[in-house]
């Protein structure tokens, strides 16, 4: 009998129910959109921020990074190096999946036309097979995505490209060189003839350097298998209390805290893990990129939180006022039911069941609509799909049912106090 009454009561004022479901669906879809975005924006934005380049620099312990202001000092004299064979291990650390790209460097000076110029040996876009069997491509192209190359990049495979060089635009201007020209240079009294394959427009100090394949420079300098330093570009999460605690004093962390720190993708913990696999190395976050990234991500996440709260409040208010608007109509039904002899409990039970149904349907519709909308936004802004988290579905439904119930709450209390005769004899 109850189900018959419920069915009748539900379908009788279908238009009103439909409006309630639609408005709850709208409120729910708004919440779903905000939740999805809130959960995913950090990841997506983090990937975008990789355009700023590497955030971790790996170098031999207590070795200074090269900085040239035009002296005659040989950058390679008395230096220690990193083993190239250790590089692959970067992709085996706990946070291997967060390592987006890395590039090794070896720098020295050569003489061209009697003047000294810096030369860097590196990977441009090297194909690697890492211990897990996966094939990856990494190198300067991935680590410095802002580089513009006129001409062509240097291929890692062909034998011919061993003699190629990418020259910074400043050097190209100075020596009046363009792609295809030959570039004769002298290193420690040995003559080499390189060919300019491309001109790099980097918009920074790189414009003043010459880039060749790492293996070529290693041959020239007789430093096979050695690397000066490595740039690593990793996806990280912003700093929080735990990260700051480690910064202040690494030993202050308990073993559980340390495990948590290790298993969180902070820049420092990823750097720590890199140090573990590359012998004799020191991996440091490049503050310019790492700290700024953290700062920006925190700010955006905070902004999304505020917007989400705002969205939630406004949708709740909107739905609540819609529910409130329907009070009078329901009162008559209730008065009649009461006059017929329905108990307060029965009426309340009916309302609760109805509200739950409306909330459930509205919540589900809202979930699908909201997920679709979130995807649209994701594609529009980031060119990629949002990671839809299933956990959002039950949350959306629960909130919808709660809103539907709360919306009816005031009605229920009014109803319980109502006397049938008031309804039936009033106009």
């Amino acid at each position: 009998m109850f189900s018959r009454i419920l069915f009748k009561s539900f379908t009788i004022n279908l238009r009103r129910k439909l409006m309630a479901i639609i408005s709850i669906a709208m409120g729910a879809s708004l919440i779903v959109v905000m939740l999805n975005l809130w959960l995913d924006v950090g990841d997506k934005l983090g990937k975008e921020l990789k355009s700023y380049g590497s955030n971790i620099v790996v170098k031999p312990k207590s070795q200074a990074l090269p900085f040239d202001i035009g002296t005659d000092v040989d950058p390679l004299e008395g230096r220690s190096f990193i083993d190239e064979s250790d590089l692959l291990k970067i992709k085996t650390i706990f946070w291997a999946n967060n390592i987006v790209a890395f590039a090794p460097y070896l720098e020295t000076k050569v003489k061209i036309d009697g003047k000294a110029y810096p030369v860097i040996g590196t990977w441009f876009n090297k194909k690697l097979v890492i211990p897990t069997g996966e094939t990856i491509h990494t190198g300067v192209k991935a680590v410095k995505p802002w580089w513009e190359v006129k001409g062509s990049w240097i291929s890692e495979q062909s034998k011919k490209s061993q003699g190629s060089a990418l020259i910074g635009q400043n050097i190209a201007k100075k020596l009046d060189l363009k792609p295809g020209d030959s570039l004769p240079l002298i290193y420690k009294n040995n003559n080499y003839n390189l060919r300019v394959s491309g001109v790099v427009k980097a918009g920074g100090l790189e414009d003043t350097k010459i880039y060749v394949r790492l293996d070529k420079l290693q041959k020239i300098t007789n430093l096979a298998g050695k690397i000066g330093w490595v740039d690593v570009s990793a996806l990280t999460v912003p700093e929080n209390e735990l990260a700051r605690k480690y910064e202040k004093n690494p030993d202050s962390l308990s073993s559980t805290e340390f495990e948590k720190w290790y298993c969180t993708a902070f820049t420092k913990s990823i750097a720590f893990q890199i140090e573990e696999v590359i012998r004799g190395s020191e991996a440091k976050p490049l503050k310019q990129v790492a700290d700024s990234e953290s700062f920006i991500l925190n700010k955006i996440q905070f902004m999304m939180t505020l917007l989400a709260v705002l969205a939630f409040v406004s949708s709740w208010l909107g739905v609540w006022s819609l529910m409130g608007a329907g009070v009078l109509e329901r009162s008559k039904e209730v008065g009649l039911s009461k006059a017929i002899g329905a108990s307060d409990l029965a009426i309340i039970a009916l309302f609760i069941t109805e509200a739950s149904l409306v909330g459930l349907i509205g919540g589900l519709v809202g979930y699908f609509a909201g997920s679709g909308l979130a995807q649209l936004i994701g594609y529009n802004v980031f060119g990629r799909a949002i990671d839809i988290k299933i956990a959002v579905a039950p949350i959306a439904v629960m909130i919808s049912v709660a809103i539907a119930l709360l919306g009816n709450l005031s009605i229920v209390s009014t109803i319980v106090r109502l006397k049938p005769k008031d309804i039936l004899h009033g106009a």
Binding site: S51, Y52, G318
Partner: protein, 378 residues
Amino acid sequence: MAHNKKISMFFHMLKGAFFRRRTRLVIVLLSITIASSMVSGMSTLYADINSKMEKELRTYGANMIITKTGKKQISLGQTEAIKKYFKKDKLVGFSPYLFGNVDLGEDRFIAVGIDLNNFKKVNPYIKLALKGGSYRLNDKELLIGKNVSINTGLAPGDIAKIKENREVLKLKVSGVIESGGVEDDQVFIKTAELQKLSGLNSSADVIYVSYIGKQNTLQSIAKKINASHPSLEAKIITKISKSEGSILQKITSLVWLVVLVIFISTILCVAATLMSMIFERKKEIGLKKSLGASNTDILFEYISEGSALGFIGGILGWLLGNVLAQFMSESIFNSAITIRLFTLPLTMFISLVIAGVSSIFPARLAFNIEPAVVLKDE
């Protein structure tokens, strides 16, 4: 005289509709106010987001670099001339660097002559290393990079003997700084003192600039500088500027879309509420029609009610929206919003449209109401 009576009765009815239907009124007014505050708040926020985010992205530091093309260093006069090309309110930092090679104990280090305030502004991410000390550079003081401190064993408070060629300076280490980059291997002193040490009186080898602006703006400034100072080369630090443009665009479109979604959803909810409330007044409409009201009379009455509500709700909502936007701006960007005048007509327009449409739509349905049918409702 005759017309006045009718008009005053009309306003009587309007007033009655407003003040004697309290809960109804509160709900409707609240709905319109919420919708309007979303319009006003979100549009103010969106208008500001671009410039506020641009400012925040300066946390990455310098986006422009000016170098010398030959051996001749940059003079003080040139430095001052170049600075004029940048708008004051958009210039976050302008820091000339003078380089030198110095001996500290047994090791050689690169010394950078700076003005610390300017240095901080173009390198906002550089902080004091844990060794402490203070991040300051007074006369006869020295800031050293973390690795320098490790290599030489110097700590804040120690006196260091710096030598270049034959000149020697005794400086006190004020602090140890850390960047993770080349600064960790360098020492920093006041420009004047480096000039004394090296015997040169030039102002800088390089100038780093942190400026709020898009790539095109920076490029045009660089062009102007290069044109008027051939011994200098002004360049955009592509890595910073290019990324900034792309990130900014993504964040702005994200905010825009979210704002739009909140906007539309609220407005729809509100319109639905208003419409359902008017459906309730079927009886009233039937009654008025039985008394001789025409469809036009009914339409006019409801539109007037709707407009009055839209007007009041619009103003309240506009104010509330600005309060909301201010709150968000303060919490996220630590800065105040600029109250933008265009949001007022926009808010009023949308609020009147919502109220109007929500009134007209059911009122038009009222056209079909037969007084007889409604009045016989039992």
